[in-house]
């Protein structure tokens, strides 16, 4: 059997950004227009590939498609694995990337050097982390995405970004050390780094080694919780997300979801029903930490005075909700959590972009940007064609305020989970599945019903405080008569925000097929035997390109 072209499609989300990012580095520091064009084309191609992979993951007979990059059989070489969850994350990443990229083209991509290469490398790291089935390879992809994110966070420079960037890098370097210690302990006990192989061996670990193995997993978990922005490891998050340039922050809103994704995958794969004595070790902890994170995010949201910080706390609330839902360890709750993940990530991305437009007419923000642009010599346009563009752009869209207001209301509705948008469907699904466990599969690490009610109360209270805080911000931005001019918007800034919000509406209208997909994904996660078998039985390809039987 020959390998056809779509068998190689799985490596494209990693190779394409790497090649494009590398080539753009060769172009040097100038030629922003060319790089922007290449970047948009590459991201569009990435989105197309991700959608193709999603269809492949959903339509195929096998639960998991495996690709062996170095052609070593499964437990020895690195394996990439694609199931419904990875495919979903790939599509979400590409969508968020395309929207933030288009937004940045209005002016942010010129606020510093190497924005476009860093952007592609960030995508490479994200996609790799979603696809890999090897613990150490996961570390490498984490470092790639973090290294690129350091650059993107500092994009535009300025004292505030450098200060928060310093904190962000220090926290993440310490987190990477923990990651390595955890991986090394797991390797030392189980003798494998392949996730599927580790999952098989964990059930056979002898009693005396079990404690060490569990300690390793816990240390690894702490590293992921730092990335997911879980309390008490998230004090770096609101300042750095508020300081980052809006397109970078919008892309970062999917970065916390990488931590959540890994916790979801590994907690069910390694400590699922087949893990023997360690089964269900992770869920209670994730639940408690999730509840604490949700509380912290809720309080922080009430306390924050500026829109950027508020958006940061909205990210924390989203992480907290997801972690506590994962902590329930039931496939119906996980499916609802996946719906919430998609809906809240889209809304958060849109909100990070929107908040800049809302603040635009404030003088100090404009001054800051003018200074930054001046520092890079961008106050004068280089190319006559662009000069024409900028004069075109100066014309204010008459409906600017109307658009901003409507988009803000849509964001607020989704983030707080009020009807009629997708946030409501997501929260409704979460609450229903938490309170109605009947008729479902046997539960792992069943939390007490009290905790279900605590989560219910926290979810509703966090929704209420989100409404309160966003209303306060909205009144200040839209209703306070300050005699300001309506902000000037460019179509390329309006389009990505509208696209993300429309996608949220599509998700709501198409909730039934979407939930069917999320249910399938969650069921596969909770029954990892298929995933393990898929990876362990992956077949090598001989040098003629045929698959060995």
């Amino acid at each position: 059997m020959m390998l056809s072209w779509h068998d190689h499609l799985m490596i494209v989300p990693i190779v394409l950004p790497m090649v494009v990012g590398g080539l753009m580095l060769l172009l040097g520091e100038g030629r922003a227009t060319l790089k922007a064009g290449v970047n948009v084309l590459a991201t569009l191609a990435l989105l197309a590939v991700a959608i193709a992979l999603l269809r492949q993951a959903d339509g195929g007979q096998v639960q998991v498609a495996v690709y062996l990059p170095a052609n070593w059989p499964a437990p020895f070489g690195i394996a990439l694995a694609l199931d419904r969850l990875s495919a979903l994350m790939l599509v979400l990443t590409a969508t968020m990337a395309l929207c933030s990229l288009l937004y940045s083209l209005a002016r942010w991509h010129r606020a510093g050097v190497h924005f476009h290469p860093l952007f592609q490398l960030q995508l490479m790291g994200l996609n790799g982390a979603f696809l890999t089935a090897d613990l150490f390879n996961l570390f490498v992809f984490f470092e790639i995405l973090l290294a690129a994110s350091y650059g993107l966070l500092l994009h535009g420079s300025g004292p505030q970004r450098v200060k928060t960037g310093l904190h962000y890098i220090a926290v993440n370097l310490a987190g990477s050390s923990l990651f390595l210690i955890g991986v090394a302990l797991i390797y030392g006990i189980t003798g494998s780094l392949n996730m599927a192989d580790v999952a098989v061996r964990i059930g056979q670990v002898a009693g005396s080694d079990r404690m060490l193995m569990e300690a390793g997993a816990a240390i690894l978990g702490v590293a992921f919780l730092i990335k997911a922005g879980a309390w008490p490891l998230n004090f770096w998050l609101p300042p750095s997300y508020a300081a980052a340039s809006p397109p970078a922050a919008a892309l970062f809103s999917i970065m916390t979801k990488v931590g959540v994704y890994i916790i979801l995958r590994l907690s069910l794969l390694l400590f699922g029903a087949d893990a023997g004595a360690s089964s269900g070790l992770v869920q209670p902890w994730v639940l408690y930490i999730g509840l604490a994170t949700l509380t912290f995010g809720t309080l922080g949201m009430l306390a924050s005075q500026n829109t950027g910080r508020l958006a940061g706390f909205a990210v924390i609330i989203s992480s907290g909700t997801l972690l506590s839902a994962i902590g329930f360890g039931r496939d119906s709750v996980t499916a609802a959590a996946l719906f919430y993940l998609v809906s809240s990530t889209l809304a958060l991305g849109a909100f990070f972009l929107l908040q800049e437009l809302m603040e635009r007419s404030r003088t100090f923000g404009a001054d800051l940007l003018a200074v930054t642009l001046e520092a890079f010599g961008l106050d004068r346009s280089v190319d006559p064609e662009e000069d024409m563009n900028t004069t075109d752009v100066g014309v204010a869209i008459p409906a600017a305020m109307a658009f901003l207001g409507l988009a803000f209301i849509a964001c607020a509705l989704v983030l707080s989970g009020l009807p009629p948008l997708s946030g409501f469907v997501a929260k409704f699904a979460l609450l229903t599945t938490i309170l109605n466990p009947e008729g479902l599969t046997p539960e792992i690490g069943n939390p007490e019903p009290v905790l279900a009610w605590v989560l219910l109360a926290l979810l509703i209270v966090s929704g209420l405080t989100t409404v309160v805080s966003l209303t306060r911000i909205g009144i200040r931005a839209f209703w306070v008569p300050s005699g300001r001019m309506p902000p000037r918007l460019r179509v390329i800034e309006v389009f990505p925000i509208a696209a993300m919000l429309v996608l949220g509406i599509v998700l709501m209208v198409q909730a039934q097929p979407a939930m069917r997909y999320f249910n399938d994904a969650a069921r596969a996660l909770h029954h990892p035997a298929e995933y393990v078998r898929g990876i362990m039985s992956a077949r090598q390809v001989d040098h003629r390109g045929d698959v060995t039987p």
Partner: protein, 113 residues
């Protein structure tokens, strides 16, 4: 040998964490470096400590797999060293930028009380 390695990892890791928590950026970067040395030694020791084992496969002595040292932790350490080195360099750049912009080497960009 186990004791010496354990003490070395402990001392490096302990000093690393202490320095990491100090308020000066230079102390923080030294702390991160020491911590990464401790982690590298730790990964290495996870391949089991042994003396006089063969590091590279030899056709003449290919009798027992138990006679060979575990090559995987060595590969992991190599990767971790390279990545750690790059990250330290990157942190150094940000540290200098922070010093230049704020005029102080305090991690918060201003002197504490």
């Amino acid at each position: 040998m186990e004791l010496i390695i354990a003490i070395a990892i402990g001392v490096l890791g302990g000093s690393g964490i202490w320095l990491l928590l100090r308020p000066r950026t230079f102390q923080v970067i030294m702390g991160i470096s020491l911590l990464s040395y401790a982690v590298n030694l730790f990964i290495f020791s996870m391949g089991r400590l042994s003396v006089d084992q063969i590091p590279i496969l030899r056709a003449s002595r290919a009798s027992e797999i138990a006679e060979y040292a575990d090559p995987l932790p060595q590969a992991l350490v190599l990767t971790a060293i390279v990545i750690g080195f790059a990250m330290t360099a990157l942190f150094l750049v940000v540290l200098l930028a922070s010093r230049g912009l704020s005029g102080t080497d305090h991690v918060d960009g201003r002197e504490g009380e």
